[in-house]
């Protein structure tokens, strides 16, 4: 008996045995509530949520609003007025930046009226010539990060222009230039408040947990109801999605600042504002920068998904071309999105690391040489563009703007490749597809679906108990029990089966690659760089090559998920292994271990808690990607979320479905974190 209580693996074996017995004992036909929970009042939850939010919008806090144009006093609600105001501000900011880049009249209209525009043709913001924007990108890159960055930024802009994606790319850029600073500022503000107030942090923490594990799509539905459809709605849902990681990293960074540095700031005579902005936030810069990086990544990922609710730009074009299976175009668009992501990411990093030279005493034209150069280029390119349009009034003006139909395109080449792949590899891909589907995926799916709800909950509770005692058992059972109470238990099982398959594959690939790469310092560097780069890709982009190679099927979703989710597994394995203390490695070497023994006996056990955190990330990443995979066509929770997007009363359903996905993630997250904390304590590396 003592042996049983001391050894967790025996407990697990026993747990599995009981689980299996339960599965065998409960018959689908006669099992009743043990097989699947029957319909209860809980099924009304989506409607309750829906009605609650509707009430908030339509009947709560009624106010009188005076409409100046109609000269009428109308009844409205506070929530409506608030969302209307917010939408207006966001939309104005997006349009302002968009029209600076692309030209337009909406900004002028905002201050005057449409009549004024029709009366005065000159009253519009002219578009910048693309060479001026490219020069601007080049100069910014050079100013912030020197030659390499300037080439990256300049070349990316030229690529976008030359390939005829100027309009959608600038739309996306204006979208991102509004959402990124907004998320950054909001995250910083909430993070600092949480850092100062323990109560606020305690309230915020669970909200952040849920927010960070809700799939992207679930954010869209309430946003549409509250804010309608369009760029502003897309931007607002993006900000809601991108802010939580920023908040979290801000708190983390501020907490890591050493108390002495804080005291040094106080003794230097800083008031509380100076202390925050000159001492604390800059000292927490490292983590805050990771936050910025996350924000940029999330904003671009959402830029694609937000196009479901009317955000224009590359994302929308990508969606259209994927829908019509126009793989070549999708690929080019994907490259543009990735380029914007990478350039913005690098520019923000370089900006934060920028150093000012106080000693140099330089004249005006040297200090402002970048601004002056940009001004010069702007004038020259505008003049050239203007002259060109005078000389060739009927021709397309390539020096000013390259239209989609006039740009270069490799579309045909890629379409040819896809055609070639389809004709030449059709049989082998099909047979692989067939094999995977019939011998692995379908049996696995059926096995999951044949689990009685009682047995599953027992397994979950038991795992929780073994890992973290009674508290963990209650927490994870509550998470999973919530899903069992909803009408979507079977869908959740399908999501779970896909996640299991993807996570296992990702972990096997990621850990193997990680272990192999950690053997040499150079390979470590390379693989971390690769992970960094792949992480900047918006999740949607991963679907493009997969559809190109494998067509539209469950398997292609899973492959995209696996590719996407392998990144954190690899990264954390490499990091975990390279963070094993040098002294322990040396102690091992002096004990006469060979390389394999050192890996198995010293490095892996010590790195294991960190690797588990990577696996945790893998789980969350794969859940997100599986939900996005609904776009290709799956039959899990994600599909239902997509559907509720187009239903009139889908809001409650969408939120509850999103919570179901979030709770799967949170249950896994809780188990892994509890285990890793215990393990770290045992190893003394907490």
């Amino acid at each position: 008996m003592q042996y049983f209580t001391e050894h967790k693996w025996i407990q697990f074996v026993a747990l599995l045995a009981v689980f299996y017995a339960l599965v065998m004992a409960i018959d689908p036909a006669t099992g009743g509530n043990l097989w699947r929970l029957q319909e209860t009042r809980f099924w009304l939850l989506p409607d309750v949520v829906n009605d609650g939010l509707k009430f908030l919008i339509n009947d709560f806090w009624v106010v009188e609003v005076y409409d100046a144009e109609l000269d009428l006093t109308e009844e409205s609600t506070m929530m409506k007025e608030f969302t209307r105001g917010l939408s207006g501000v966001v939309l104005f900011s997006i349009n302002l930046i968009r029209e600076l880049l692309l030209g337009g009249v909406k900004t002028v209209v905002a201050f005057t009226s449409w009549d004024f525009i029709s009366a005065n043709e000159w009253a519009r913001i002219p578009a910048l010539p693309w060479p001026a924007v490219a020069a601007g990108a080049f100069l910014t890159g050079h100013y912030l990060g020197g030659r390499n960055l300037s080439i990256l930024a300049g070349a990316s802009t030229i690529y976008i222009a030359v390939f005829g994606q100027w309009t959608p790319a600038m739309q996306t850029l204006s979208f991102v230039l509004v959402t990124v600073p907004l998320s950054f500022v909001l995250g910083l503000v909430f993070g600092t408040i949480a850092f100062k107030s323990k109560t606020f942090e305690a309230i915020l923490a669970p909200l952040l947990n849920v927010a960070q594990s809700m799939p992207h799509f679930s954010y869209l539905i309430p946003v549409v109801v509250f804010f309608g459809i369009g760029d502003h709605a897309g931007a607002i849902s993006t900000v809601i999605f991108a802010t939580p990681p920023m908040i979290r990293l801000t708190i983390l960074g501020l907490k890591k600042v050493s108390p002495e540095v804080l005291e040094a700031g106080m003794m230097s005579g800083c008031n509380s504002r100076q202390l925050m902005f000159r001492v604390l936030i800059p000292s927490a810069r490292h983590d805050i920068l990771i936050g910025v990086n996350q924000v940029i990544m999330q904003c671009l990922a959402m830029a694609v998904i937000a196009s479901f609710i009317g955000a224009r730009g590359l994302g929308y074009e990508l969606l259209v071309s994927l829908n019509s299976l126009n793989i070549g175009q999708a690929l080019e668009l994907g490259v543009s999105i990735v380029l914007i992501a990478v350039v913005l990411d690098r520019l923000s990093l370089a900006w934060a690391n920028k150093q000012i030279d106080y000693l140099a005493d330089r004249p005006f034209h040297v200090r402002h040489r970048y601004s002056l150069a940009f001004l010069g280029i702007l004038i020259v390119t505008s003049v050239i563009a203007y002259l060109a349009s005078m000389v060739f009034p009927d021709k397309a003006n390539y020096l000013y703007f390259i239209h989609e139909s006039q740009g270069l395109s490799t579309e045909r080449f890629w379409d040819f490749i896809v055609d070639w792949l389809i004709t030449n590899t059709y049989n082998s891909v099909q047979s692989f597809n067939f094999f995977m589907t019939t011998s692995i995926l379908m049996p696995m799916k059926e096995a999951y679906l044949s689990m009685p709800v009682a047995a599953t909950l027992f397994l979950v509770a038991g795992t929780g108990y073994i890992v973290g005692g009674l508290r963990s058992a209650i927490i994870v059972t509550a998470f999973i029990g919530f899903i069992a109470l909803t009408p979507w238990w079977d869908r959740a099982l399908i999501t779970a089966y896909m996640a299991t398959f993807a996570v296992i594959s990702s972990v096997i690939i990621g850990c193997s690659v990680g272990i192999l790469c950690s053997r040499s310092p150079r390979a470590t560097k390379v693989i971390l760089l690769v992970c960094d780069t792949f992480q900047t890709f918006p999740s949607f982009v991963y679907l493009i090559p997969v559809i190109m190679l494998f067509g539209v099927s469950d398997l292609s979703v899973l492959i995209a998920v696996i590719v996407y989710a392998t990144i954190p597994a690899t990264r954390y394995t490499v990091e975990g292994l390279s963070n094993v203390p040098q002294t322990l490695q040396e102690a091992g070497s002096m004990s006469g271990v060979n390389r394999l023994q050192r890996l198995l006996k010293i490095e892996l056990p010590l790195a294991f808690p960190h690797i588990m955190l990577g696996i945790n990330q893998t789980v969350i990443f794969s859940l997100f990607m599986i939900i996005i995979g609904a776009f290709i066509g799956t039959d899990d929770l994600g599909q239902l979320i997509m559907q509720s997007l187009s239903q009139a009363n889908g809001m409650g359903q969408g939120i509850v479905l999103g919570l179901c996905v979030a709770f799967i993630g949170l249950a896994v997250d809780h188990l892994i974190h509890t285990w890793a904390e215990q393990r770290k304590k045992v190893l003394g590396i907490a």
């Binding site: 005291e263 003794m267 230097s268 030279d357 106080y358 000693l359």
Partner: protein
């Protein structure tokens, strides 16, 4: 040492107790706080009834082992933490009664502090770090940079103005810390174990640097250390702390000669007396009829520095005061006693 009548820093019955019911417990105990009973109540004592004064231009070193409350005392006086009870006066002003604005004002103009682990801002260069206290005061960038460059020269870091802290050695980083704390020309200088994180050789060098700066600047200094030798070397007066209580506060010589408690005596037992005591403390009475040697020594001279000439003289050596008047004599017998004799048999004049 004490030149003006008003002390720069004055502490009266300062208490700091960590824990939830600190104030209540203190009121109940009526000023007599026992460590053991506090622990029972879930509280920890930081400073227990500390009263002392620091005068202008004086270096007071607070010495104690870790957990003795020396850093807590320093943080009470700089008001980085709030005291539980007692009064602290800075130049006669009640520090504890100040509001935030006044406190910031006094820190911007009167106080400077150096930290054990340097506490430099990692994202700022040497110059920017030093200029921080000036800039938060509202000084313009060019003025604060000029002043920061002066400070860089003062701490002998010229040529490293644009280095980041991570590019500097520990000793250099602490020079930056010192420069930053002195940038606003404070009257009061707090140093919290400034040299404890440094290697022994560098520590010695930095102590010399500290004494050199003090000879130029003449600040009022509160210096915290756990190193008794460092305290002896730098202090005008030493306060020895244990469990939050100041066991003794006195000149190095008096602490070595007359330890007030058993605890203080433990520190002084191993101290080489000839390095601490001056001739004045051990000289014998001057008998006008006696024949004296040709050389004389100053009454303030540390014994170690005059031991060799005194020992090589056959006749007694005269000890003179600042005006050259003979105030006592030293002979080789006294010297040998001091250098090699038993502690208790010293002919000490206190």
């Amino acid at each position: 040492m004490s030149t003006s009548t008003q002390p720069v820093i004055k502490c009266e019955s300062v208490y700091k107790i960590f824990g939830d019911n600190a104030v209540k417990i203190l009121e109940q105990s009526g000023g007599k706080v026992e460590t053991a009973s506090l622990l029972e109540a879930g509280c920890v004592i930081g400073v227990n009834n500390a009263s002392f004064e620091v005068h202008k231009g004086e270096i007071v070193v607070v010495m104690g082992l870790s957990g003795s409350g020396k850093s807590t005392l320093l943080r009470c006086i700089s008001r980085l933490i709030d005291t539980t009870a007692g009064d602290i006066f800075i130049d006669g002003e009640d520090l504890l009664a100040m509001n935030d604005k006044e406190l910031i004002n006094i820190r911007r103009n009167k106080m400077g502090m150096v930290f054990q682990n340097f506490a430099l801002l990692p994202h700022k260069t040497v110059l920017e770090n030093i200029a921080l206290p000036l800039q938060v005061k509202g000084m313009s960038t060019s003025d604060s940079m000029d002043r920061a460059i002066d400070m860089v020269n003062l701490v002998e870091l010229t040529g490293r103005e644009n280095y980041f802290p991570r590019q500097l050695s520990g000793g250099q980083q602490q020079r930056v810390g010192i420069a930053r704390s002195l940038a606003v020309e404070p009257d009061i200088w707090f140093l919290d174990e400034p040299f404890s994180a440094l290697d022994p050789l560098i520590r010695r060098e930095m102590q010399d640097e500290f004494l050199r700066l003090q000879s130029v600047l003449n600040k009022t200094i509160l210096f915290v250390t756990h190193d008794f030798d460092e305290a002896l070397r730098l202090a005008d007066r030493i306060a020895i702390m244990k469990d939050g209580v100041i066991e003794q506060i006195d000149t190095p010589a008096n602490i070595v000669l007359n330890p007030a408690t058993e605890y203080v005596a433990k520190f002084t037992r191993e101290v080489p007396r000839e390095r601490v005591l001056s001739c004045q403390t051990i000289m014998a009475k001057y008998d006008a009829s006696a024949e004296l040697s040709a050389i004389t020594v100053s009454e303030d001279a540390i014994i170690e520095t005059v031991a060799e000439p005194v020992l090589t003289e056959q006749k007694p050596v005269a000890v003179t005061d600042a005006e050259g008047k003979i105030v006592g004599v030293l002979n080789s017998n006294i010297m040998i006693d001091v250098l090699f004799g038993d502690t208790n048999s010293l002919p000490v004049n206190t």
